[in-house]
Symmetry: C2
């Protein structure tokens, strides 16, 4: 089924203990669409860039079957730019630069041809823009998945809570789940967050895997134990793209399917961190993905 | 097969966000033996207490089928006492009191009737005493499992490394694995630690479960997501007791069996934290344990 992904398409400059990059292509929607492209050939992008964004990068997305009709290119303006430096543990990072540029007044226009989308991925953006996207769709999608971050909890909690009422699945990390709910126990946190709106909740725990809550059940997905995490940028968005992409390919929303979706999302994310930026998830084979999913399976079987 | 457990039998005074206890019975070997008693009826204890240690507590151990012939009772001396206060996250704690008492000159005497033990659990003690136990056994046990902690890495690293050469399995937490190896990546840490001696390594990650390394394979065990951790004291020792108890009951040492042993250990530990001290693991039914293991199974199946 068709998938609509809304989020940033941007430039990142990344420093990790393993090296640093100049401006490379990043952005939540970029990672989401690339990851989802391995599951659905009907992925549609809504985002905004400046005219500094390379045409060949857009062609790269098209070559992955991603429809970029909804990608606005603002003449004479610059793309969103983020620079960050990861600490040695690769779990924490400092933001060095955030230049909103075109993102400052992003108006998410939905092309008419996207209106029949059944699966909607709201990448990390202001909660207001996420609401606007939902309100501009003629029909409510079968499934709305939303990502967000602590930043919006700090400065726009009321808006965030409004948006939460409108979505089916929320994906956040464990610290964010604790902040949003005010509960330390993730089980209690999940209950409170589910009462805020989302029937399903995915709590991402980085090197410790992910928890899926829904339908009164809990699923625990492992993380693949890795020798090295080269660059964690985009891992969460890649997870989300694999997650919703798999569900779109199955065209079924159930806890059983979501468990598999969490594993496919985790598998894609485990590739993402192997190289800088989108390099690794631009070049995956179906066989590599299947082998990785099998690794997840044997990792937990007893 | 027969199991020998060496470690502390002691008093604890515990404060958690949920309440506090006066002196209650604790100690690594207490938890190990109680947990193991659900798997083997041939568990033998070597430890030392003062004559302040209640006889009914020793009878309690005997009622679980635990042989206390090797429990030395020092006349006119006091049992080891530890007092601690857990923080709100239940992952970190402050030690308020450590009174070594009888532990200060503990000489682990192995009764003749214990000499045929096939499975040896070395609870957290000075690495020198752990070595002494191994050296006093006429025949090397089929499997030696060792627990330790960061304290010995700080003050007795050389002794610890000597002991590591003599054991088959090491159980430590993730921070300790990083400290012992000097590697942040747990996969790299595991490789280095396995080169120090133990063929198998269990890294305990608290609320994030546990990782088992050995025979070139990795197994990831989930933790049961709990609404509340009431008191984490003894959870690691209970894990170790369930782990080695299960292996002793199977009388087989292989990666496949160890995976199940990690799950049984995790299941027992998940009971331990439900109440203060040993209260919960003193009173378990086989049905409760089997149901809990089934919960672990459905938690990860996809």
């Amino acid at each position: 089924m068709s998938l609509l992904a809304v989020g940033t398409v941007a430039f990142d400059a990344i420093e990790t203990p393993f090296g640093k990059t100049d401006r490379i292509v990043g952005g939540a929607a970029t990672y989401v669409c690339l990851a989802a492209s391995y599951f659905t050939k009907n992925a549609n992008l809504v985002a905004v860039v400046g005219d500094d964004f390379p045409e060949e990068e857009i062609r790269d997305l098209n070559n992955h079957g991603i429809n970029t009709e909804g990608l606005q290119i603002k003449k004479g303006e610059k793309s969103f730019f983020w620079a960050g430096r990861y600490h040695n543990d690769m779990n924490s990072r400092d933001t060095l630069v955030t230049d909103l540029n075109v993102l400052a007044d992003f108006d998410p226009i939905i092309p008419e041809s996207y209106q029949d989308c059944q699966f909607l991925m709201l990448g990390n953006l202001t909660p207001k823009i996420q609401q606007t996207v939902i309100n501009r769709l003629n029909n409510r999608p079968k499934l709305i998945v939303m990502d967000t971050m602590n930043f919006w909890m700090d400065i726009a909690m009321d808006d965030l809570k409004e948006t939460l009422k409108m979505v089916d699945v929320l994906t956040i990390n464990d610290a964010e789940a604790r902040q949003l709910s005010g509960e330390y126990s993730l089980v209690k946190a999940a209950k409170k967050i589910q009462e805020m709106g989302p029937k399903y909740l995915v709590i991402k725990k980085g090197e410790h895997g992910a928890l899926l809550f829904g339908e009164g059940q809990i699923f625990s997905a492992p993380a693949l134990p890795l020798e090295e995490v080269f660059d964690p940028t985009g891992a969460g968005d890649t997870f989300a793209g694999g997650f919703i992409g798999y569900l779109a390919s199955q065209n079924e929303v159930s806890f059983e399917k979501m468990k598999k979706a969490v594993i496919y999302g985790s598998a894609l994310a485990s590739f993402c961190v192997e190289k800088f930026g989108t390099e690794r998830i631009k070049n995956l084979s179906q066989e590599e993905i299947n082998n990785r999913v099998n690794q997840f399976s044997s990792l937990v079987s007893f």
